[in-house]
């Protein structure tokens, strides 16, 4: 049928699958999916809404990191305590007392009291410690003394008095202190609890928020994209050229790639900036690991939910009906996220969250949070991922069936039973 190709006024003949035998070959399918995905990606990358949205999230991330970095007490740096330069003994006492009570205290030598007060006033010091008679320590603060620092200073002041008394009795304070340091409690746990790093908990919560937002926004974009093609009636023209499943897969891949670009951007900027500023003192490996897990789980979660979102969108023809049909799917995302964000930061080894994080429909929000917080047994991480991966083809097949049956029916909402029943 090549003789017909001569008739195009605009173009020379082009390779065509026409003629029947090569129809619907995998090359055609790949080309179609690539074109559809490419259109989804480029039109959205160019849209103002996308750029503004991405910029806002980036600013929020940068702002949060800077806030952690600049606000005293939140970041990794301990309390900065000014001590008069002359008082080496006090410095040493405060340091060892802080160690004993587990407070992070950095001592900073200051020239004199006036200079110290100025630095407390402008916030570069958290406290200025001045020894007074009878072992009392005067602590100059802006308005309140941090409780942990207070405990450390109380211990320090008592030790100072004690050392003085020991010296008065002719003893050696160092010897006594060494002896006292020997005393204490040795805990012998039968089942030692996992020690969680606060930074990892924060990182886990951040990962949870990020993956939740990405899945929700990506899923809704997929559903809206499907409804848009129905409401603009362009879907019939598309289905005259490509198969329904090619259209669905192309759309999911295109929007998935868009979300992927965002999440990589967010992860790299967030972790990169906080590492560079020293806000995050985790090892590079652990930080990079978190970002990688985040991306893996975003991909798994997105692909899993996106097909369901596409199928739901195919049931309706008007944009205002979309939120109703995607509700059942968003609820899974929301439940996983809410359980994770409300339970995990205070109780990272919560068993309910642990079980939920292995169930495929909840795993994409919960598992990356747990992984970022640390302490997930390898078998749980692997099983959760495998179960989720195994769920994808089942959901995709089901969604494909609903989509194929429903997407061509423009008008009132297609009942789910009807969409599932017909072949």
């Amino acid at each position: 049928m090549s003789e017909r190709d001569r008739t195009n006024p605009g173009a020379a003949s082009y390779p065509s699958s026409g003629g029947g035998s090569g129809a619907g070959s995998s090359a055609d399918t790949l080309t179609a999916i690539r074109l559809i995905a490419g259109r989804e990606l480029t039109t959205r990358l160019r849209s103002k809404a996308f750029r503004v949205m991405t910029a806002i999230v980036l600013l929020v991330i940068i702002g949060t990191v800077l806030a952690f970095h600049l606000l005293p007490g939140i970041g990794s740096g301990g309390s900065k305590v000014g001590v008069l330069q002359a008082d080496a003994a006090l410095t040493q006492q405060i340091t060892s007392a802080a160690d004993a009570v587990g407070a992070h205290v950095d001592t900073v030598p200051v020239a004199d009291e006036a200079a110290g007060r100025t630095r407390v006033a402008d916030g570069t010091l958290d406290a200025l410690v001045i020894p007074r008679e009878s072992g009392r320590l005067q602590v100059v603060v802006q308005s309140e003394l941090d409780p942990a620092l207070q405990t450390a200073l109380i211990v320090a002041s008592r030790n100072l008095v004690q050392d003085k008394a020991i010296r008065a009795l002719g003893g050696d304070p160092a010897e006594v202190n060494a002896a006292i340091a020997q005393a204490g409690v040795v805990v012998d746990p039968i089942k030692p609890p996992k020690q969680y790093d606060v930074q990892q908990l924060v990182l886990g919560a951040a990962a949870g928020i990020l993956i939740y937002l990405s899945l929700m926004i990506g899923g809704q974009l997929v559903a809206q994209g499907v409804v848009e093609e129905k409401s603009s009636r362009v879907v019939e023209l598309l289905l005259a050229t490509v198969r329904p499943w090619e259209l669905m897969v192309g759309k999911v891949l295109g929007i998935g790639a868009l979300g992927m670009i965002q999440i990589v951007l967010y992860g790299v900027v967030g972790v990169g900036l906080s590492s560079a500023l020293g806000t995050l003192t985790l090892s590079v490996g652990s930080a990079v690991g978190t970002v990688i897990w985040l991306i893996v789980w975003y991909l798994v979660g997105f692909v899993m939910y996106a097909f369901a979102f596409a199928a739901a969108g195919a049931l309706v023809s008007r944009m205002e009906d979309a939120s109703g049909v995607i509700m059942p799917i968003t609820s899974f995302v929301i439940v996983g996220y809410v359980v994770g964000i409300s339970v995990l930061p205070s109780d990272p080894s919560n068993s309910f969250a642990e079980v939920l994080s292995i169930i495929p429909l909840f795993a994409p929000t919960l598992m990356p949070m747990r992984l970022a917080m640390g302490g997930v047994p390898v078998w749980e991480a692997v099983m959760s991922l495998l179960l989720a991966l195994a769920t994808i083809p089942l959901l995709a097949a089901l969604a494909g069936r609903i989509y194929r049956n429903a997407v061509i029916h423009i008008g009132s909402r297609v009942p789910l039973r009807k969409a599932l029943a017909r072949g």
Binding site: Y14, G18, A23, G24, S25, T43, E229, V234, A240, I410
Partner: protein, 303 residues
């Protein structure tokens, strides 16, 4: 113009108790413009959607050059759906290129074809505008361009003329004639029967999911009874009814359309007419498609 390009063979489709198509059968030949007419809901759109594979028939098949139609051939059909549809927020040019590429054209050829068709259809100046910024008439032109841009081997157009201004109708008619002359079978549906009569080589009249009349316009027109048209200004109404063997069909002012029984001499009618006053028109007329359509549709209803 004798080879059958597209054969629609025994298509049936039901929606629950509603019969949309009932053994719909016809063929379109290479290089032929086939007009598809029928009342609303007669099954034209359903037939076209089945040809495009958008719907599946309950039974029957569509064949292209003797082989059952498949996805590869369907990609070579240019389609204009009844429900017009384009991406509203996509630029005209990008949209045309996108559809050309979806049909398998490489980028360069797709871009060239999009430009050419935009020029041919008079929308070249809107190439970089979003479709939603265009008037409905211009959107319709873009829609036609989207059907033509991939150099289709078949054209299936569902009411391509509805909503077009006379200039656009002329452009569209010319394009269809050119495509047909290049050997492309063109099938289109329309309610504008005068237009169908003017540009179609063959016409199919559909009624309740069945093809009830199919053939060239001349064949169909000579098949139905011709009638005599007589204009007699000033004659009393009902003068014709008195003439033996004459049945008045319709009256329009001074003009009557008459059906003559076999063996009736038309000159006797002229004599009778002259007897009642001056005759300014006296002619035999073949029914046009509108009358034919009414005739076929009402005859079926009466049956």
């Amino acid at each position: 113009m004798t080879t059958t390009a597209l054969a629609i063979d025994g298509l049936s489709k039901r929606y629950g108790p509603v019969v949309a198509l009932d053994d719909m059968t016809f063929e379109v030949r290479a290089g032929e413009i086939f007009g598809f007419v029928g009342s609303n809901g007669a099954g034209k759109t359903t037939t076209m959607r089945i040809v495009l594979g958008v719907l599946a028939p309950d039974s029957g098949e569509v064949r292209w050059e003797g082989r059952p139609i498949d996805a590869g051939i369907r990609r070579r059909i240019g389609y204009m759906p009844e429900e017009r549809g384009l991406y509203p927020k996509m630029k005209v040019g990008e949209q045309l290129i996108y559809f050309a590429r979806l049909h398998g054209m490489p980028v360069a050829a797709a871009t060239a074809a999009a430009r050419t068709w935009a020029e041919t259809l008079g929308i070249a100046s809107r190439f970089g505008d979003d479709v939603q910024a265009l008037s409905l008439g211009n959107q319709q032109r873009v829609q036609l361009a989207a059907a033509l841009v991939h150099n289709p081997a078949v054209l299936v157009l569902d009411e391509p003329f509805s909503g077009l201004d006379p200039v656009a109708v002329d452009v569209m008619s010319r394009v269809l004639a050119e495509r047909a002359a290049a050997g492309v079978p063109v099938i289109f549906s329309s309610h504008q029967l005068d237009l169908v009569q003017r540009i179609c080589h063959r016409v199919g009249i559909v009624k309740a999911g069945r093809m009830v009349a199919c053939g060239s316009v001349d064949e169909l027109r000579s098949g139905a009874g011709a009638h005599l048209v007589v204009t007699t200004p000033g004659a009393p109404a009902g003068w014709a009814a008195a003439v033996p063997g004459v049945t008045p069909l319709s009256t329009d002012g001074d003009t009557v359309a008459l059906s003559l029984a076999p063996g009736t001499d038309d000159q006797s009618v002229l004599t009778a007419a002259l007897a009642v006053g001056p005759v300014t028109e006296f002619s035999w007329r073949k029914p046009d498609l509108v009358e034919l359509f009414r005739h076929v549709v009402t005859a079926e209803e009466a049956a």
